[in-house]
Amino acid sequence: HFPRHLKWQNNNITFRILNYTPDLNKSDVDRAIRTALNIWSDVTPLTFKKLYKGIADIMISFGSKEHGDHNPFDGPNGLLAHAYPPGQGIGGDTHFDEDEHWTKDSEAYNLLLVAAHELGHALGMSHSSYPGALMYPVYSYVKGFPLSVDDIEGIQALYGPNPDSKKVKPRPVAPSKCDPELSFDAITELRGETIIFKDSFYWRLHPQMPEPEQTTIKSTWPFIPSKVDAAYESPEKDIVIIFSGIQMWALNGYELLDGYPKYIHKLGLPKTIRKIDAAVYIKDIGKTLLFTDEEYWSYDEMTGTMDRGYPRSIEDDFPGMDDEFDAATYNYGYLYFFHDDLQYEYSYTSRKVVRIMRTNSILNC
């Protein structure tokens, strides 16, 4: 909250849209603002009435550079919008930078998401330090209901819960990298970086970055599911394959390759396989190992076929480890298997476990 917990003194709040962006149809702007307000009214007793003239509690406008409040915008990118906490006069007013390109989808800046964030300020919410919260100060694109538990608790601390007890499914809070019980969903390399998927977030590890960077999956790849089961990179083809359920996606950097998503059975897996737990590409032999429950398969990247003689038992071929994996990666002759909160360093050449570490040691914990 803002200092002194600023809030509106009654629950019936008025708003007025003073002007419109040319980037979108007028009706799309109206819909984005109304939906953004509904996001907050779904979890509180607040109601919002639209005014077409006169002074409303929340005056909404688009402007560029200096736009009348001595708090100028800065041209494209950088600052996207700002809003004032509840109060008389400028209090509650919400301004969008007209120099941005406003959209209805994941391209450029989604007006609905930015409006929902700014209207959060107009209702008394300050910034959250949780990357998964709507009130996090940095823009990231998400699909679905954007409020996290942190946002809901914050707004309800000011106005109380919705009397109709509407069922809303909050966005998950970002996983904490140093949680001792942290497990991973999937790991892959991507053009020299390591990408670690967990829930609807991923960490990006760059050899020259001392700290991992956490982002939502949807903000980078809006077209892939927010829950990844397995992933691997085929560096020769410069693609990353993402598995979720019985489907897979091929990414070339930020782009989705044509023809995807495809069914995982196209790889030659039997229809009984409904999910891949972990996948890892072993550069030295050009094979990708796909782990499903207690078994694994070997896929030849050159021929695009599944190797004969598989599936084989994980327990038989990788002695000394658990018989199921969450994620796997390969580096300089060593396989790294992740299961729950443990990480096994396995020598592929000497076929034995060399070290057992905490899963999150890869995140500098």
Binding site: G78, H121, P210
Partner: protein, 79 residues
């Protein structure tokens, strides 16, 4: 030696960012040296964003400063 122009730009960006969002007082900074106030504000920002708190303008901190964001200050008195 004179700083590379990219370094200078980064310092200016950081100073502007900390002034706007963390209330760094204007006019206290040395040319390219990080003053106590500057370091304290960087630490405040790094803590807020769960970055490694170093007080230095490292790559992670700088990258976050360059991202598109809301214009409302993160913490402190609203102005």
């Amino acid at each position: 030696l004179p700083l590379l122009s990219a370094d200078k730009d980064n310092w200016l960006l950081a100073e502007k960012y900390l002034r706007r969002f963390y209330g760094l007082p204007a006019g206290l900074q040395g040319a390219q040296r990080s003053s106590g106030a500057f370091q304290a504000k960087i630490k405040e920002m790094q803590k807020f964003f769960n970055l490694k708190v170093t007080g230095n303008l490292d790559d992670n901190t700088l990258e976050l400063m360059k991202q598109a964001r809301c214009g409302v200050p993160d913490i402190g008195e609203y102005n």
